[in-house]
Amino acid sequence: MNTRKSITQALLLIPVFLLLVLPSCKHNDLEIEKENENFRLATDFIKNNYDMTLFYAAIEKVGLADKLRENGPFTLLVPNDAAFRELGINRPSDFSKMNQDSLKALVQRHILTRRLLFSDMPHNGVDVRYKTMAGTEVYASMAGYAPGNEAFAANELYFNGSPVTRKDVTLANGTLHMLNKVMKYTPQMTIQTWLLARPKYSIFIAGLKRFGLWDQLAATGSFTVFAPDNEGLKAAGITEASIAEMDAQKYMGTRLFGSYILPRTHFFLSDFEVFRTNNGQEFLAKKIDNDTWYSFVFTTKNFFTKVITGGINLRTAPAYPNEVYGSAGAEVPALSDHLFDNGVLHEVKGVLLLPEQALKK
């Protein structure tokens, strides 16, 4: 009797036992998103990124690869491959053709010796300066939000006029921001020396010299120059020979060549995007010195690629009623935002005013 009872009890326990054991046999595929904890070091991250091959090649070339594996912290402002291609650098071997010292300085100017996250920037900050590894300073500007509109922030970031297309990429030894344009800064050089070294601006230089506007570009003041190249000027019939024939007294030089220079300003084209957001300033109409006409600067930004292009035109008044004369601009963003110690230069193609339009009456 007793034996039988215990067996029944044992039988009753079987389903309970099965219940306990069987569910543990089934393995549901439970996927939990786990954040990546293994952040790479700067060098390794760039090496593994297919859109940064040229910048990696440059790092390797100038021997900074090991430096960027150190603790840092670093902030890397990495131009993508398209940005280098715009400058004519298509494959890693093209870096060999460059002066290695200036290449090293260029790479170092794209590296900050600190961790700079987007949140470290002052809101709506313009031209906030940060030290680079090369000892120079980089200008950072933020298109934050319109006054009183903090809830709808644009929060775009620019370094020396180069738009950031991807910000705050975490690295084990710092952070990385991706640019779509190479930052061009030539320390210890004035706009004048830079122009002088480039034969494609010889007509512009001749014009500036003819009307006494050339010497100022060696001064320390700040200038924004829209430099028209020879090709565009020749197309409008302006050549070195025709300038040599001009009687400076008969022309309004301030309009003819002075209109390309905006003294006491220094702006990147991206500053228009920044101020468009921060305070609704869409363009700049700057009165030409010793003249009544205005140089008018405008920019456009590609919504998808964030590429900023712009140009300048000449007008008799900032707004209607006015007459608008010629305009000059650049399609390739790499041509703009050359930074110097005494200002910023933008390369353009086109003519603002023909000589016959600048004749004194």
């Binding site: 920037m121 002052p122 809101h123 709506n124 900050g125 313009v126 031209d127 906030v128 903090e150 006491r264 300003t265 702006f267 500053d271 228009f272 101020f275 305070n279 300033q281 700049l284 109409a285 700057k286 009165k287 900032p318």
Partner: protein, 398 residues
């Protein structure tokens, strides 16, 4: 029996709770011999493409700071951080304490959690901070626009001094301190400390009082209009007004139009307004009756105020400008104190917008009830600001 025991336990617990909470000692902050100070940042320029090297007017006020050997502030007796450009309207009560979601403070004390003034001679001074009286060193620093407290900023960002000066505050006196641009051409900045006297005057509570200051920078009106980046809302005032102006006051009852004036109060000459950003004297208070509109019931009135500032020798009756003229060469600038100060008159009006000076609020059994106030209208370059002070009033009965 068990019921009684439970009651005993509960009773003991309650007694313990009483004792436990009664043990903490509260140290109430107290300032002996205070002066009352309210600070405004009147730097209203906009940083744009042409002047992008100018500092963003976002400030920290340090009273009695301690500097390290490099002259960088490390500590301060009183700190007023995140001091933003002031808002057009400084209300009688620090209302941003409850409604603001931003870290920016439009005035000091504003949202700052500090001891504020009492009700002095009927006037509520809760928008004034208590500061120990005596002589203080006061430093205004430019700071970046972010929510990092001043002393936690990187050291290179703590070095831009706007002004470093000393002020003397007398005990139990009411002061307003303004950070101002003193010269438009040289961009020189400074401070302006005014000892207010409204709490000492015998002001009637059936009259609305207002006084005017033109604290514009020297050379603002005379400068080229293109150089004046002003607040869109300030109408023809954005280009500045001349050194000497006459003030004419009008009252209207119609909403957003000038169709129904209060006839006894149209283009009434009030007095003169002289530009002054140096001499620290209180301007004369002008007044008009709270119930100037004969149709009002003595409890509530819907009148709004308009002030026409006109150059000496000009008269509103034969004004050469049209109401849509924004450029009046500094000869004429109307100011509308209407509704909440955000809506314009119908049509193209060149008036600057400010809120109505009369406070309409639920008090006692009346909702709304109109209260007379004491007001200050300050013109700084192209902008105009209204500060309203109100008496303490009866709480609402629901």
């Amino acid at each position: 029996m068990p019921q009684l025991r439970l009651q005993n336990i509960l009773f003991c617990a309650a007694v313990l709770l009483l004792f436990a909470s009664g043990c903490s000692k509260v140290d109430y902050a107290k300032i002996d011999d205070p002066a009352y100070l309210r600070v405004f940042n009147n730097l209203n320029y906009v940083v744009g493409l042409e002047n992008k090297d100018e500092e963003v007017p976002f400030l920290t006020m340090l009273i009695d700071p301690e500097m390290d050997k490099d002259g960088m502030p490390v500590k301060a007796g009183i700190k007023g951080d995140f001091l933003d450009q002031r808002e057009p309207y400084a209300p009688p009560f620090p209302s941003h304490v409850g409604s603001s979601v931003s870290y920016k403070n439009p005035e000091y004390p504003g949202k700052a959690n500090v001891l504020v003034g009492p009700v002095l001679n009927g006037f509520d001074l809760s928008s004034w901070a208590q500061i120990p009286s005596g002589t203080h060193r006061i430093v205004f620093m430019f700071r970046p626009v972010n929510n990092v407290p001043f002393f936690n900023l990187e050291s290179r960002l703590k070095q831009k001094v706007l002004i470093d000066t000393t002020i003397t505050l007398d005990s139990k006196e009411v002061y307003t301190l303004h950070v101002l641009q003193k010269n438009f051409l040289t961009k020189k900045n400074g401070v302006y400390l005014r000892k207010e006297n409204f709490h000492k005057l015998s002001l009637s509570d059936s009259l609305v009082y207002v006084n005017f200051y033109n604290m514009s920078a020297k050379g603002f009106q005379e400068s080229d209009d293109d150089a004046k980046e002003a607040n869109r809302k300030s109408g023809s005032l954005r280009y500045g007004i001349k050194e000497n102006m006459n003030i004419f006051q009008s009252l209207f009852t119609s909403e957003k139009t000038m169709l129904s004036p209060v006839y006894s109060n149209t283009y009434k000459f009030m007095g003169q307004l002289k530009r002054n950003s140096e001499v620290l004297e209180v301007s004369k208070y002008y007044s008009f009756p709270l119930f100037a509109d004969p149709k009002s019931n003595g409890i509530y009135t819907n009148i709004w105020q308009r002030f026409d500032l006109m150059a000496i020798g000009m008269d509103p009756a034969n004004n050469p400008y049209e109401s849509y003229n924004m450029k009046t060469e500094g000869n004429w600038a109307p100011i509308n104190c209407m509704l909440d100060g955000k809506s314009q008159l119908q049509g193209n009006d060149n008036g600057a917008q400010l809120p109505n000076m009369i406070v309409n609020i639920h008090s006692g059994q009346y909702n709304p009830r109109s209260f007379a106030t004491v007001n200050t209208i300050e013109i700084v370059n192209g902008n105009v600001y209204l500060t309203t002070v109100q008496r303490k009033y009866a709480p609402p009965i629901y």
